[in-house]
């Protein structure tokens, strides 16, 4: 099923209530041509299951990896991605845009 930002927040609540460890990633800022608008969500649980999208697939892998750290230490953080990054080929936005993503744990 295609997850919308509305169903994602519901799923985040359901997963947490089921006792799973969950992080929520949200696009908080975009520059240039970014694939997903501000406010887009990605919800991740400790086993690596995820729902939603913050970049249409470009940087999801890195966001998920960082989210697992957030689930561990509980410290919310802001991630930034763009072609200017040294990691451009590994996790850059081929569209040339830049995005900032806020990742927090659901407590």
């Amino acid at each position: 099923m295609l997850a919308t930002d509305q169903t994602i927040l519901r799923e985040a609540e359901t997963w947490r209530r089921a006792g799973r460890s969950v992080a929520l990633a949200t696009v908080i800022e975009t520059w240039g041509s970014a694939p997903r608008p501000v406010g887009s969500h990605l919800v991740i649980e400790r086993d690596g299951n995820f729902l939603g999208s913050v970049s249409g697939g470009c940087v999801e892998g890195d966001v998920i990896a960082e989210s697992l750290d957030v689930i561990e230490d509980g410290r919310a953080r802001v991630l930034e991605f763009g072609v200017a990054d040294e990691t451009a080929w590994r996790a850059g936005l081929s569209c040339g845009g830049r995005i900032r993503v806020y990742v927090e744990r659901i407590d």
Binding site: Q6, L9, E13, L24, T26, V38, G39, E104, I106, D107
Partner: protein
């Protein structure tokens, strides 16, 4: 995010009430602001603009970077008439993530066989509206029965509730007759001018599916343009003409 805040956001959405979550991106502190609390909040003016656009985003307040998660109710589409066009329209509306309900008191039309997996109410519009809750400015209504007994009451209810989109199927001639009837029923010309009639963008649609595309394109255009121009909120719902000297 505290689970309480997440649960409250979901509950507000279910109740079709707007809500805003304010997150300090530096220290992670958060607070949820509900509709009833908007006006008295220190960020009231910022909230007002955000609710009009429906867009989440960062704001700088006193050197702090705050992210506002703006949640407005899901857009609802009420289709009056379980007709051929509606059958083509429902799956398309679902793909657009509209929350669709089909209403038609004619039980021969409103059958689950004709509308699998669609919220369907075989009732008169006013009874159906009472059941599904208040119409609001996040609601669109398309009257498609061609029958004034069914279409007219639904149009009146939609205009009075300030639904963001109100459309009615029918030729220019039948639309002119409709405007006369609604005028006699007490609606002002300003109110009835909000009805999109003949319904849909003019794309030369012929088949039911093409007409469905033209209707949904018009709904999307109205929704997006209204939001961009910030016109969806704050309008009084006094569409009924009150003739005090009558």
């Amino acid at each position: 995010m505290k689970l309480d805040n997440l649960a409250a956001l979901n509950a507000e959405r279910d109740a079709r009430r707007p809500a805003i979550l304010v997150t300090d991106t530096a220290d992670g502190s958060q607070r949820l602001v509900r509709e009833a609390e908007f006006a008295a909040d220190p960020l009231a003016e910022v909230f007002r603009e955000r609710l009009l656009s429906g867009n989440s985003g960062l704001v700088e307040i006193d050197g702090r970077s705050l992210f506002l998660t703006v949640q407005v109710p899901p857009v609802r589409l009420l289709v009056i008439g379980a007709v051929h066009i509606s059958q083509a329209l429902c799956p398309m509306a679902e793909a657009l993530e509209l929350d669709v309900t089909v209403i038609d008191p004619r039980t021969a039309f409103a059958t689950p066989e004709r509308f699998p997996d669609v919220a369907l109410l075989a009732e008169w519009p006013d009874d159906a509206f009472a059941r599904i809750g208040t119409l609001d400015r996040y609601t669109a209504l398309a009257a498609l029965t061609h029958d004034p007994k069914i279409d007219d009451p639904s149009l009146i209810a939609a205009l009075n509730a300030d639904c963001f989109y109100v459309g009615a199927l029918g030729s220019r001639k039948s639309h002119a007759r409709r405007l006369e009837r609604l005028g006699e029923a007490g609606l002002s010309p300003e109110a009835t001018a909000r009805i999109h009639g003949p319904i849909g963008l003019d794309i030369g649609a012929i088949t039911p599916a093409e007409i469905a595309v033209s209707i949904l394109a018009e709904v999307v255009a109205t929704l997006r343009r209204d939001r961009i121009k910030g016109r969806t909120a704050g309008k009084p719902a006094d569409c009924l003409r009150h003739d005090l000297d009558a």
